[in-house]
């Protein structure tokens, strides 16, 4: 009898230890620090600017295998852990210092858009299957609710107790963050999809761009369209909002800035070839940085859209760049990861990763997190930080 009791205890401990490897828990998940990255690009304006000052060169601190590929969004950072969503539907947590896995959980069929952390919960959009959004309680490590709906391939946005997702049929749906109940929904257009990340503009407005080039500014309070425009070309990449301008890239060689209050075109940059797919832009408040399938990294003046410099790289640049202080970090599909000078475009540091880089980057005080094919999360830090 005693032996059997011990057997049961051991078995329970074993099961517990195994299952704890497969869950995600945080001690104080309601507390969000300044350095945390609760959403793709850290902020829902998606400017991809971090004031952090990193000293180059960087060196690799650790590498982690997440077992599957990644969508275009950046990793999340929360309480000294990295959260990575994969296209296999899993969210992995990694210790930022050591690179050791701290648990993972399958929360969706496929995750394409980055999850979001708010109010102690992690909200995960699903790009396939019957669930559109899953809410996961980060304190107790269990699913809190699941909301059925049309797949969502973009990051979701948290707004005043609601999580808002834009699905592949261009419906905007708001779910109660606490309960998952459907709050409101409306359709932007028929037979079009949204693949570009929605951008929160100011306190109450949401900018959405469709793959057919229709763009909308929505008033989330009134749940109505403030203005809409047709930009003349498909939008697939994450736009950004900076200083009154909404900047977006198209698949037909253009980058344009729209006035956030009216939607009027402030400027438009046209590359030489309409075949060029422009990547997601980043902004430091003065300039726009954008990669493209022609391998060019361009710096455009934020006010005028004029080219300030261009750097030609060897391979396609599809990942969103990240401005970190005076450096511009960007990865290519040729496995190269660069740091450029924002001012001059000179290469200041460069390294080669194991696979193509097609996702955005996350930034810490001392380093950057890069996602590369086929399944790697790599953390580069300043040399002194790694000692």
């Amino acid at each position: 009898m005693k032996n059997r009791f011990l057997d049961i205890i051991c078995f329970a401990l074993l099961v517990g230890s195994v299952s704890s490897c497969q869950t995600i828990q945080f001690e104080r998940p309601n507390t969000l620090a300044e350095s945390d990255w609760p959403t793709d690009g850290q902020k829902p304006s998606r400017s991809r600017y971090s004031p952090s000052t990193l000293a180059l060169p960087l060196e690799m601190a650790w590498e982690y295998s997440a077992n599957a590929g990644f969508g275009p969004g950046s990793p999340l950072l929360f309480q000294d852990r990295v959260l990575i969503a994969t296209r296999q539907g899993e969210v992995h947590t990694i210790d930022l210092k050591t690179g050791n896995g701290r648990g993972f959980k399958r929360l969706a069929e496929v995750i394409e858009g980055s999850p979001l952390i708010a109010d102690g919960l992690m909200f995960v959009p699903s790009a396939w299957g019957k669930d559109a959004v899953t809410a996961f309680d980060l304190r107790i490590g269990v699913k809190k609710w699941r909301a059925e709906g049309i797949p969502i391939e973009t990051p979701i946005v948290y707004w005043k107790g609601l999580v808002i997702g834009v699905d592949v049929e261009s419906n905007v749906t708001a779910f109660d963050a606490d309960t998952g109940s459907h709050s409101w929904s409306f359709s932007l257009m028929e037979k079009t999809a949204v693949r570009a990340a929605p951008v929160l503009v100011g306190d109450n407005e949401l900018f959405v761009a469709t793959v057919d080039g229709d763009v909308f500014l929505l008033d989330l309070e009134e749940q109505q369209v403030v203005w809409q425009q047709q930009v003349g070309a498909p939008v697939y990449e994450s736009p950004l909002w900076s200083d009154g301008a909404l900047v977006l890239s198209t698949t037909r060689g253009t980058v344009m800035a729209l006035d956030d209050s009216s939607g009027h075109v402030l400027w438009q940059y046209n590359s030489k070839s309409a075949m060029t797919r422009m990547g997601a832009p980043a902004s430091d408040g003065e300039a726009i940085y954008v990669g493209a399938t022609d391998g060019n990294i361009r710096r455009l003046n934020l006010r005028t859209g004029s080219i300030e410099w261009t750097v030609q790289l060897e391979d396609v640049v599809t990942a969103a760049p990240q401005v970190v202080g005076s450096h511009l970090f960007i990865g290519t599909l040729g496995r190269e990861f660069y740091a450029f000078s924002c001012i001059s475009g000179d290469v200041q540091w460069q390294t080669t990763l194991r696979g193509r880089i097609k996702s955005a980057i996350a930034v810490t005080d001392v380093g950057v997190l890069v996602l590369s094919e086929p399944k790697w999360v790599t953390y580069f830090v300043q040399e002194e930080a790694n000692q």
């Binding site: 599957a68 590929g69 296209r87 496929v110 698949t251 391998g295 391979d315 396609v316 040729g334 094919e373």
Partner: protein, 1006 residues
Amino acid sequence: MEMSTFNIPVASYLAGAHSNPMLRISAFLPGVLFVLVALLLPAVPSWAQLGYHFGRNKIQYEDFEWQVMKTEHFEIYYYPEMQELAEHGAFFAEEAYRDLEHKFNFSLNRRVPLIFYSSNLHFKQTNVTPGFIPDGVGGFYEWLKGRVVIPANGNLHRFRRVVRHEMVHVFTFNKVIRVMRDHRRTTERFLPLWLTEGLAEYWSGPPDHQHEMIMRDALFTNYLVPLESMYRINGSFIMYKQGEALCRFFAEEYGEEKLLDLLEGAWKDRDFRIVIATTFQEEFSVISQKFQDWLKEQYYPELSDVELPSIIAGGLSTEGFSAKPNFYRFNSGERRVYFVGNLNGLSNVYSLPVDQNYSPLGEPEILIKGERNDEFESFHLFESRISVSGSGSLAFVTKSGGQDVIHVYDLEADKLTETHRFKDLVAVYSPSWNPDGSRVVFTAITQSGFSDLYVFDVESKELQQLTADTYDDRDPAWSPDGTHIAFSSDRTALGQKGAYNLFTYGLNDGQIRYVTYGDRVDFSPTWSPDGGDLAFVSSVRDDEGRYSAQDIWVADMSADASRGGSLANNDRADSTGAPTWKAMEQLTKLVSAAYDPVWTADNRLIFTSFEGLSFSIRQLDDVPKRLERPKKVQPTDLATVGTSWRYDSIALGEDAETGTYKRKYQLDIAQGSVSQNPVLGTTGGAVMAFSDMLGDDYLYLTILNTGSGTRSFLRDLSFQVARFKLNRRANIGYGAYRYSGRRYDVTDPDAPTEFPLFQETVYGGFGAISYPLSKFARLELTTSLNWTSKDINIRNVERDALLLSNSISLVRDNALYWMNGPIGGWRGSLTAGYTTDVLYANVSYYTVMADIRKYVRITQDITFASWAMARINEGREARLFVLGGSWDLRGFRWFDVRGQKMWFTSHELRFPILKAPSIMFPVLAPFGVASLRGTLFFDAAHAWNTDYYDIRPEIRAGETVGAAGIGFRLNLFGAFVFRYDIGRRYRDGFKEQDKVFRQFFFGWDF
């Protein structure tokens, strides 16, 4: 003959070829799987004793001195003679790469190996794929090593397009594999073939005239396949074109970016219809309907205006494939039309008697039998015209050995008189006689890969090159007065866009002059009897870039209006200064296409029509009257001619590194396997296969173990190393092995009859040479030296021997294959060998084997097949031959009939039951039911050892046994054939009926 069971794949590998014409241009997997299966089945008794197998030969005629050019994204394999072409190809490849990076939003992380050949004849020799490559294959992508293999054909525009097409495949494959792996989906799920090929066509350039021809014909003669049924045309030419049309429809209707979305969404579901529906956000049935509507919108407005060739032109040969016509009026007054065709599975030159109105007086008769022997190995069915001189000399081209030759057949004397082979010319097309039959002009491609015009004097044997440039000059036609040669060429400024116009070459001054000009594709000129007109076929591109049907046009060549026309110089526009206008008159407005018109002496045009996916010979009468009412008159405005084009290239040494090709092995497959056998227990093993980039050199490492426990692990460990070299005409193989373990061998004369299981250890090596005498015949030599130690406990036999085995085989095979096996031709082999124990004299026997199979085509679908075989092993410890099973002596179990000597015969009447079941019953399509055929069969055999009549019932020796019955053959997916036979067995020379049997298995007909 004593050979290791390891040698099972040797002979088949060295022959390196298949007879199956159903070559799929897709992934290539080396024959390593045969090796693995064979090695893990030691129970399979000496197939090697057969020492031969059938199949045609893929011959390395050329000793290519391969070089490698490294550009930014490619490793280009080429040979020095074609360096200029390779430099163009390198440029095309980099150009395509830059474009496709945008379309796929993707970069490749490794250089892509591109293997170029300067002509189709060289391309057919490639070892990158083991099978035969038929005419019409423009290139292929092999995914195992990521190789792209592309032949040139004299046309740089076409070469550029094929490079782009194959690069789309490279990008598609790599992109989709990445998408699948990102989502942790299995990669065997891939895109439907119509999408991969359609996308490759669509993204390689605008639709060409062939695309329009096929789409018009499909729509108007009603064989267009709806989107949901595209699988039914999998692998066909129509699939390519309809796939291209689908991609264009998707792009126009839903947006170009959606094509990439389809690829990026491939992970969503195994059923690609769901991927399509979710990508386009419409019901699949709605999308399919929209496609039909889109097609109708494009083509139906023309419907009221077009003519069917079958309505407006009299039919001469309308069955099968008939093309490239010509005619002759004999001295006796008899008229005949000649053409190249394939009416029953093999290509021939046909002769058709006609009356004065060119109505057929009978069925076409075969004049020259092709594809059965080395002399007329194959015709260029789609490319090469035939010509008949005024005195009745028929000139035609066939492949013969490593190059094309021109044959001359005297029609009056009814015999072949000459065959002309040209040392430096690889491919030859479309000969045309001069008026007195003393010279012939033709197009030829040299090792450089560029096509030019040549004139050959049949008497003096002098060869003169007329053009020497990078333009594609083709379809020459000698004028009736002998002063000019009309030809088609892409040497105009529009040639870079794929346009071909007509020119004349002046034999008096060597000048080339324009005849036609414009954004059109003008081919196959033919002179009117008086030389005043030039008929040709043309497809005209409109302002929106769409090609018209390929119609018959006539250009006015009379007087100075044409003869004194503008010079076509390479580097500058019209040198005479004065533009010249010619009238071109459109004679027909066809549904789809006319080809290769020939103007008869009595003013008819005999031509090839394309209608209902069929090529037929037809004739238009009274051409002068038709010229009075042409469909359209269009002047040729030569004032607008520009300078001719030049394609860019990447120069060696400047933009690309180069070096000699060094053979390096790369791993192709590493595979392990475990098998459970009721007799031998568990067997486990692994095989690794390596080959070089060009597929010329293979290395196999195999290891397996049949041990039953730890102690026997080393004792029963077997391994083999084998190498096969295929880069020369003679294919060579050699290897060494150790085999040890329990062996179940029914052919061993010492093994117990009922349960021939014993322990044997063999150390040895083998060598083999397969020398192709021609495509159809080869000589095979094999030798092996084996130290063998055999232990048969139950019989108290312990025998050691050092066995030397040598054999020689002569094999010939020109059988024509179809769904379930051969349907025509014949195959045979003769083998002689000797095996001796050089150490202990325990073994010494000779072997003689003869095997002949003949297939008589009674009708298109019914074949009578006969097989006769005799085998003798005579001497000490001579092995037994075996028969029995579904593949030879039906009704008897495998290996039931054994003897050191035997004869066997089998006869079958093969007939169709359901020819295209998936089309008649679409529900069968997902199961891959490709054909259902039946057979009435009769088998008989007699095996014996010493005495012919010494009956040994345990091995059924000493009496004639056999079977007769009916069988069914079901072909699945074009790859597997299931066999089911029902019949009755007979014994004692067919005097005694034995039981009724039912036998099920798989495998091709003999």
